[in-house]
Symmetry: C2
Subunit: 337 residues, 2 copies
């Protein structure tokens, strides 16, 4: 049987092995592997797209793994099949912090209705994000109907995850310092739902944080999206909910909000439109990254880049003149690929 047939076939050990093999192939940087991977992706694509893609982000220590395990167990008990992926651009440095150690989700990882895959560990955020996006398509083609993508607040990884999921949720601790960090980095603005975890430890602080964050989210709504100002039931207003992942308290209420979000987005047409926008943005992001790579590797550019940069730093060549000079060399170099 072909890889695509195994992946889109019956759940079981053969499917899991084919999925793991396919994702490994997608992560390979060898050119012949890349060609096989593209052919496989194109075969799988008609079977993909039928999951809910859920992004979960939060700083280390906020309780992401505990939350995802509790959520995953809740979902498989309700008949769902759950895949958990991660975007962790720091994992190549740290040796794989997110999901690298499957024992962090011990019960979920032992269940055959769940599929857990650590973050690809190589390269730039763009490269890591690309591989996770492709792994997501493999999981969907294998019939996983909920795909959770986890990320830690490193660099721009939250933006990458918000850009590949249908709903983006931010886990926060009941404490205001964090909150400002998220506002500052523009992460809060991405959130469709903010969860205040460990709310059982300090109810009063959690209630304060909830009110504060809700007020920030309303301001974003009012300023950024005038339509949010109206109480229109066909529009989603970002929510803030308290939760205790450790006690699995609040999981069902959370899932109720997720389903409500999906219904609203599907009814108003935003669900499909957002996926199209994401696919197009992703295509351009990869084109731009590829162009930068072609440029940096072009022999005519490499021959003068160091000296040209030095002239710019010494102040003997204007930066824009230097850019034009290098671009001219690049476009004149017929063998730059």
């Amino acid at each position: 049987m072909s890889a695509a047939a195994l992946i889109t076939g019956q759940p079981g050990p053969a499917q899991r092995r084919a999925m793991a093999k396919a994702i490994t192939l997608l992560e390979s940087t060898r050119l012949d592997h890349r060609e096989q991977a593209d052919a496989l992706l194109t075969e799988l694509l008609p079977h993909a797209g039928r999951s809910l893609r859920l992004g979960i982000s939060g700083v280390p220590g906020v309780g992401k793994s505990t939350f995802i395990e509790a959520l995953g167990l809740f979902l498989i008990a309700r008949g769902h099949r759950v895949a958990v992926l991660a975007v962790d651009p720091s994992s190549s440095v740290s040796g794989g912090s997110i999901l690298g150690d499957k024992t962090r989700m011990e019960r979920l990882s032992m269940d055959e209705r769940a599929y857990i895959r650590p973050s690809p560990s190589s390269g730039t955020l763009g490269g890591v994000a690309e591989k996770t996006r492709e792994a997501l398509l493999v999981c969907e083609a294998a019939g996983y109907d909920i795909v959770i993508i986890e990320t830690v607040g490193v660099g721009q990884s939250e933006i990458a995850v918000a850009g590949m999921t249908d709903m983006y949720c931010l886990l926060q601790l009941p404490n205001a310092g964090d909150d400002l960090q998220a506002i500052k980095k523009g992460v809060m603005e991405l959130a469709d739902l903010v969860l205040i975890n460990k709310a059982d430890l300090d109810r009063a602080a959690a209630t304060r944080a909830q009110a504060q964050i809700a007020s920030s989210l309303r301001l974003y709504g009012l300023h950024g999206h005038p339509e949010h100002a109206h109480h229109d039931k066909s529009i989603w207003h970002p929510q803030v909910m308290p939760l205790s992942a450790l006690k699995a308290d609040g999981i069902e209420a959370f899932w109720g909000q997720v389903e409500r979000f999906r219904e609203i987005q599907q009814a108003n047409g935003r669900f499909a439109a957002k996926r199209q926008q994401q696919a197009q943005a992703w295509m351009w992001e990869r084109i731009h990254a590829g162009l930068r790579e072609q440029f940096s590797q072009a022999p005519a550019v490499r021959a003068i880049l160091a000296e040209t940069t030095a002239q710019v730093l010494r102040g003997t060549l204007a930066a824009s003149t230097a850019a034009r000079l290098l671009l001219h060399k690049f476009s004149g170099d017929e063998h730059h690929a």
Copy 2:
């Protein structure tokens, strides 16, 4: 006399005419003009770099023009020569809102020790910013020792201006709504100094705003730059100052802070280091913009871009596969320039 000799020569009508002509040449998109402009820039560069580059940003209505006129008059009375430029990417749409009408700075514009030039009015923010950066070099070569670059809060223009100035100042009204907008957009974080204008209209509100903004700036400092937490006199701590531009009240205190900032930055080596970083970042920004343009104009790309995009939107081609396909066409196209 050559254009460069006129520009770097004696102040007077001939110099002003040569400057205006040079800036017009720099703004031209004709290829032969561009080559002349690059040659002129390279000639002027050894004479440039000796000004203080001051960025002033703030939303419409905050009183930027009134402030810049008051500051400009204060500076020329103290023997400085002051150039005022602008980055306004909306000016091509609105017909030139910033500095388009010189009567907005009537007294300053009539003084021969001041040189005021409206924002280049064409194209993308990157293009507008590039032309302003080059005009800045012309003003410096002509001996203007203070160059003020104004911008309104449109798109990413504040980031562009912060990236071409030595010191970036944000004008705010004494009102908190604004403040959140600036935090949200990451503009506050760029500011070396925040000015609360129209402070005379409501002293109490101005004092509240000052305390609030100072507290946000301290948090940025603490989180983002651990070294700011120490009270080290060789490090600049972003300041917040009340001001009334209309009454020219607070201008001298403001200038005292600007001079203190410059001294600290020069003493700790940040002044020169920041300019080098800015020049290098600018070179890469222009290279990336140029690469995107070469790509979009390559015949092999144009031939399939629409259909490839449609396949991505229909879900029959993965976005990353589409990107690889287009990049392959681009690099295989020997005549893409």
